[in-house]
Amino acid sequence: MSVADITVEEHLAHDDHEHHEQSFISKYLFTTDHKMIAKQFLLSGIFWAIIGGGLSIIFRLQLGFPDMQLEWLRPILGKWITEGGKLDSEFYLALVTMHGTIMVFFVLTAGLSGTFSNFLIPLQIGARDMASGFMNMLSFWMFVVASIIMFISLFIETGPAAGGWTVYPPLSALPQAIQGSGLGMTMWLVAMVFFIASQLLGGINYITTVINLRTEGMSFSRLPLTIWAFFITAVIGLLSFPVLFAAALLLVFDRSFGTSFYLSEIYINGEALPNVGGSPILYQHLFWFLGHPEVYIVILPALGITSEVISTNSRKPIFGYKAMIGSIMAIAFLSFVVWAHHMFVTGMNPFLGSIFMFLTLIIAVPSAVKAFNYITTLWKGNIVFTPAMLFSIGMVSFFISGGLTGLFLGNSAVDITLHDTYFVVAHFHLVMGSAAFFGMLAGIYHWFPKMYGRMLDNRLGYIHFWLSFVGIYLVFFPLHYIGIAGFPRRYYSFTSFDAFSTFGDLNAFVSIAAIITFGAQFIFIFNFFYSIYRGRKASQNPWKSNTLEWTTPVNPGHGNWPGAIPTVYRWPYDYSKPGAPDDFIPQHIPYSQTPESNLEYEKELAKNEEASKVNEE
């Protein structure tokens, strides 16, 4: 096939002669092997998920039990616990800010795309590795730098960034306004710059690999939906992350070099600042130009994984393959023209509000199509409930529940009351947070055998699923009610307002559910690490799946396939084809070998296959 391919094959042959051992450093640290890089991203993602989740437990304690003594947290939080044993109200904001940043960017962007795009793209399209292994390695290490900086910022004297994960200026620009906007914010910005670089390096690689390194026969119309999702996600990222970079850069200028991009007519701490002519709204436009596509960067890979898992375990083709691709593309396109629905009440021109309401509600159509297609895929299936399958079903359920509330928020007139309340918190935690998180878990359960050559324990998987699934609904569903009642988000406590004196019990309930749900994740973490070493040995194709990764050895080495890369003859969803002896026909099986199950037009293809074979010989 391509040039890159040939060189790798030569390299392999050469390996055979010398059998040189890779050093620990080049195998596990500065590796260029996409599978190892994927695992690196996965482990970092798990690390960050524990941190991000842990932060949320601290602030849930505050919200659920405002009178609780938190003295016992002093060993970790130090001076952020006040004299009276309470959480500091400024640190509360730092906690929500870092929770959001970590979850959205470090877990659900880097952890999700980083793991599965890296792992699955070469394996499923039939490539030996990424187009550029070196860039791939660079992408991971940029992420490590970003992670280290962000992590250290948690511990500095003035605290980490505290202006919300969207870091709107002027709050984020003025250390006078909040301590977190001092060094903590600087570190946030620097970390994000590295993060963006990492995303771009990764994204370019994913795109190039998908376009150039597909094995013979793997046309775009035969790509698994996972790959379609990763591919489009990478395109979205490539187009939107640079805009976040621009926004961050201008913010750096405003903070450090006296410019006035976002600052105007500010009087703070007894001082009138010289800045005039800037616009805080400009920042919001730039931020959400990334921010909205970002939510799809998070959800599309999860949807891709879910498509694959649901189809495999329903033993049925995914319903409406073409419509699924179409809706991914429609969502990708529309995601760039809806950003200002986050800004209906910022004072933006109401006419723009009308336009963005219109465009926003359109995006619900392709989203709905996806949901309907998943449900129809289950219809008349022969469903196997592996843990991965359960997580996928849960994912679809969350996606529906959370997606529907988008129709309230996208309606600018209704959003007047709902904006920045707990209703929004409920919306995005279900549709993005939980759905993407479940997609990620489904992926881990499904591809763990390919990653580590062993199986995860099913029983623990089920317990993990049920505790998480029920737990997440118990945490986030009640927030709708609290939001409709008008409770604002990012509030340290609700005691100052009569209007918010209610729902104390419900908040306590939510906090308890959150703690249990968080605790349940440790079952998974145990399962994960235990099974890496002691799990049951996996067979080559444990789920009887059609995609190419299951044609590699149980523990694929460098270059993935020991011999030639298989050629692809069919789409990845030939499950339960009438006439076929098995209920699955992998992609590398030619039509000429399956005369009993070929459809009309496939018979033609089978003949062509025969003919080209003869030609080759």
Binding site: L174, L263, P280
Partner: protein
Amino acid sequence: MTYLVIGLAVLLVLAILYATFRVATLVGIVKGEGSKNVPSSNKLQASLLVVFLILGLFGFFYYSFGGLDESFVNPIASEHGVATDRLFWITMGLTGFVFVVTQIFLFGFAYKYQFKENGQAHFYPHNDNLEKIWTIVPAIVLAVLIFSGWRTWVDITSSAPEDSEKIEIMGYQYSWAVRYGGNDKKLGDYDYQKIDVVNQSGIDFSDKASFDDFIPTRLYLPKGRPVLLQIRARDVIHSVYQPHFRLQMNAVPGMPTRFWFTPTKTTEEMRVETGNPEFDYELVCNKICGKGHFAMKYMIEVLEPEEYDKWYAEASQNPWLKQNSDYLAHVPEELQELARISSGIDSEEDIESIDNTIASINY
């Protein structure tokens, strides 16, 4: 000591859990679970999904229709609130229906089509008509939502009626300051450079409309009359939010914003309606603005129009300039006389007596 005991207890529990897990695993191996096609609990999982569906839907309906201790729907106290709430409930009806139906199908199909030993899935890759239907139907429904939402939105954001009460409201860390136009019902200019400890709003006294402006300690509103809030912020972004009025607009430094609406219930009436004699409208800050964000409250009082007029006339007797008459010095020479007259400062003596004593009112 207690920590040690707790630590040991936790360790013990973990050890027991681990032992249980090991035993279960070994039993599983003996039973040969790993080699089966399908997880041995396949049926159980399918049933649990249905149990979850039923319990979940029950909980959803129970809590949505009064199962909660508190009501989660705030009584509406503005004209446009009626329209936005209607839209809200229409959307709720539609999405609620879709929510219930799709979840039933999702879990129901999962249960119904669970693995059966000799079962065969139906090879059903696509059906163009079905797909067209569920593209077009949502599109039409959404078009209706968009259209009605758009009309309401345009009404709400249209320019305020000529005769509306114009009130300035300024957010700062961590409270609000409101300003009324005084006798001439015109708000004077402001300039952020003129802000100081006393002149918190930065009133610009080179504008003669500012002489009679007054700054009360509450936001008073007339029932039944359109009110135009002229919103700004002094330091960071805040947001003027009032759930009962279904009112929200950000307060942005350097970019004045506005929101107009008509209150429909006085504070007294709301006390009766809510059965809470202590009820007060509260102005809430709803954009993260720093340490005190959660306590950035300001009281609102809605009065009958006559009461409001009476209050207004009284308050106009006491313009800010009169209370802080040394700010006369900021008034340009040629306007001094006018400033005295419109703010009601009679003579030089007054200045001494009143002076700065009331500065604290403006907190």
